[in-house]
């Protein structure tokens, strides 16, 4: 699994695609690692764009939780945006939307978590 990045002010938009399951979780975790280092005050907030993630299992949830724990210990912010309906349903069933912040869209996530970057995002959108 690959991540594509887009920097918008202090927001780092990371786009993942495909399946986040037992086969891909380790790769996703490794890909996420370098970005987490800068997820702290004075660094950037991370928004994971899941618009093209079409499947997630508990192994994917584990990676997300570990990433969030890392961000929290650094007082950083990480959130997920644009979940597909089927994936969102699994988040709800797993109670996982209580564990990590989820937004309906990337726009909503940036507006809330990185308001300073919002104008730039709107211009570029």
């Amino acid at each position: 699994m690959q991540l594509t990045e887009e920097r918008i002010g202090n927001a780092l938009l990371l786009k993942a695609s495909g399946r986040l399951d037992s086969n891909t979780a380790a790769t996703f975790k490794t890909a996420l690692q370098p970005y987490l280092e800068q997820c702290k005050p004075g660094g950037h907030v991370i928004v994971l764009d899941f618009a093209t993630i079409d499947y997630i299992s508990s192994m994917g949830f584990q990676v997300l939780l570990v990433a969030q724990n890392r961000a929290k210990t650094q007082y950083g912010s990480i959130a997920i945006a644009a979940l597909q309906p089927g994936v969102r349903a699994v988040f709800e069933i797993a109670n996982f939307s209580k564990a990590i912040r989820c937004f309906d869209s990337v726009r909503d996530a940036i507006a809330e978590l990185a308001p300073a970057a919002f104008a730039s995002y709107i211009k570029g959108a």
Binding site: S22, K72, A94
Partner: protein, 144 residues
């Protein structure tokens, strides 16, 4: 009358793709919608990972002598499934509950989500020990 299809897999990570392909093939033949297929795949992945990680005794690397069996009978109304492994007897659904994310984040468990998910996504979930196998039966109705 639907003829159930059974296939054996090794409880190794590199066999997960084959298990997923089997699920997809059985469901596609019965005209099951993609969302229901995805739910069934999730259930089967969680059961498979439970066998692989927790059911079989720890051995260095993945052992080929750790089989699981999946039987699927798919109709336009849903799928009836039997999942089995030959691990020591263990009911994974005894005293199971979703992780609690209401307290401080540092107290949240990182794992333990897979089996609770299975309990929420299935109908008629049942565990029995039969001979040398753990057998889990369940159904997944078609979406909608």
């Amino acid at each position: 009358m639907v003829t159930p299809r059974t296939r054996r897999f090794d409880a190794r990570l590199d066999a997960l793709n084959k298990l997923q392909e089997f699920v997809e093939d059985c469901c596609a033949d019965a005209g099951i919608d993609p969302r229901t297929i995805s739910v069934l795949m999730l259930i089967c992945e969680e059961l498979f990972e439970n066998s692989r990680r927790h059911g079989y005794p720890a051995t260095p690397g993945d052992s080929p002598e750790q089989p699981v069996w999946l039987t699927l009978a798919a109709t336009s109304k849903g799928i009836d499934a039997i999942y089995e492994d030959a691990a020591p007897a263990y009911d994974p659904f005894a005293n199971i509950s979703l992780p609690d994310y209401s307290g401080p984040a540092e107290t949240w468990p990182v794992g333990g989500l897979g089996i609770p998910l299975v309990t929420r996504l299935t109908r008629g979930l049942r565990y029995v020990r039969t001979g040398t196998r753990n057998r889990i039966t369940f159904s997944v109705p078609v979406d909608g």
